[in-house]
Symmetry: C2
Subunit: 198 residues, 2 copies
DNA sequence: ATAAAAAACTAATAAGCGTTAGTTTTGTAA
DNA sequence: TTACAAAACTAACGCTTATTAGTTTTTTAT
């Protein structure tokens, strides 16, 4: 008999989650089989169930971890007493760092969350929408204070979030450009524009 | 007996492809079943094979159509005798229009192409990389001519492409903002930046 | 009206899926 | 060493998948 283990062995479970994130990113959640995952871990498929509850639970673990990371950082940034420009810049830099450091998990949370089983799907969607609203709020305040141009804050938020998401396809060149230069480059693009000012 | 039909009935096949694009976008390619697709079309699953060769062929048809559309437009833009800024602006506007008008197909081509069967997968990847290179070339020339700031053209290209991709999650608000205003807003973001210039 | 072709149907296939059951091996602590 | 639990294994289940075969209905053209 094999029940889900209690406490100590979080180690193997973490390995499984990490390998799952890598597979879910490259092959997609639905196209990834538990046998593939087991191969990557180095065990047989049924042995996975000594450590995890099921395929959906793996996706949930990945998405929750990422969502909590971003939400926590956003709260920190919100409580800062600095300009809204600086806040947005800090958020952009955090997104870039996360994208480069935790590519698999962030990618999966961005693209595979629609396969979350209920009620995790609804929870995740709510958390995501809440995150977007709080970003819009920062942008709106920046617009009111004339820090930003009079642009649509929702469009601006989408532009920022998805621009950073473009780094998903950047990892293959990771070695060529340092994280710092990359951050500076993207901040320049998004905040100051790429056109030479006369 | 039922062989794949020759010429006339492109109509029903087009319906199938359109419905497939919608399903592939919302449910994902792997998670979409031929029975779901058949339901959407209004026939039984095996009847689909009177019109198409298989599931993979559907994905291929969608991706090829989108890729050809963008490649054709890029060629047109390249041959224009205008500034590189204007070229980039035109490309951005085309991407936005395509994203709003052909959301399903463009989304699928952007996110599900990794499930293409060979040799379509390799072909698509090559076409995509070629497209990116040609965009970078425009940006590089613009940088050399001091139209653009001295930024990394590859990062700029990724930022542009993925920023536009953010409109994937925008369709729910389509009615609120006109295409034109949306285009202008995004062009402003990406080219001129969102910070108020003093 | 009739014949041929196109496109629908029902039935069934083999393969693969996530998962469970039951058993054996491995690791750990007394 | 012995005992217990954790974690591996093999075997198999029930279900779903894309797809094929064979047949019947519908459409089209003469």
């Amino acid at each position: 008999m094999a029940k889900i283990k209690p406490g100590k062995n979080a180690s193997k479970k973490d390995v499984i989650i990490t390998k799952a994130a890598a597979l879910f990113r490259t092959r997609g959640f639905s196209a990834t089989t538990m046998r593939e995952l087991a191969d990557a871990v180095g065990i047989e498929a049924p042995s996975l169930y000594n450590h995890i509850g099921g395929k959906g639970e793996l996706l949930q673990a990945i998405c929750l971890k990422v969502a909590n990371g971003f939400t926590t950082q956003l709260t920190t940034t919100e409580n800062l007493s600095c300009s809204n420009i600086d806040k947005i810049e800090q958020i952009i830099r955090f997104h870039i760092t996360m994208m480069l450091d935790e590519l698999d998990e962030v990618f999966v949370a961005n693209h595979e969350w629609k396969h979350l089983p209920e009620p995790f799907f609804s929870n995740f969607l709510n958390q995501r929408r809440n995150y977007e609203k709080r970003l819009v709020a920062i942008l709106e305040e920046g617009i009111k204070k004339k820090e930003f141009k009079n642009i649509n804050p929702y469009v601006a938020m989408l532009t920022l979030l998805s621009a950073v998401r473009g780094l998903e396809s950047f990892h293959r060149h990771k070695k060529n450009i340092s994280t710092r230069i990359l951050q500076d480059d993207m901040v320049t693009h998004l905040l100051k524009g790429m056109i030479m000012h006369r």
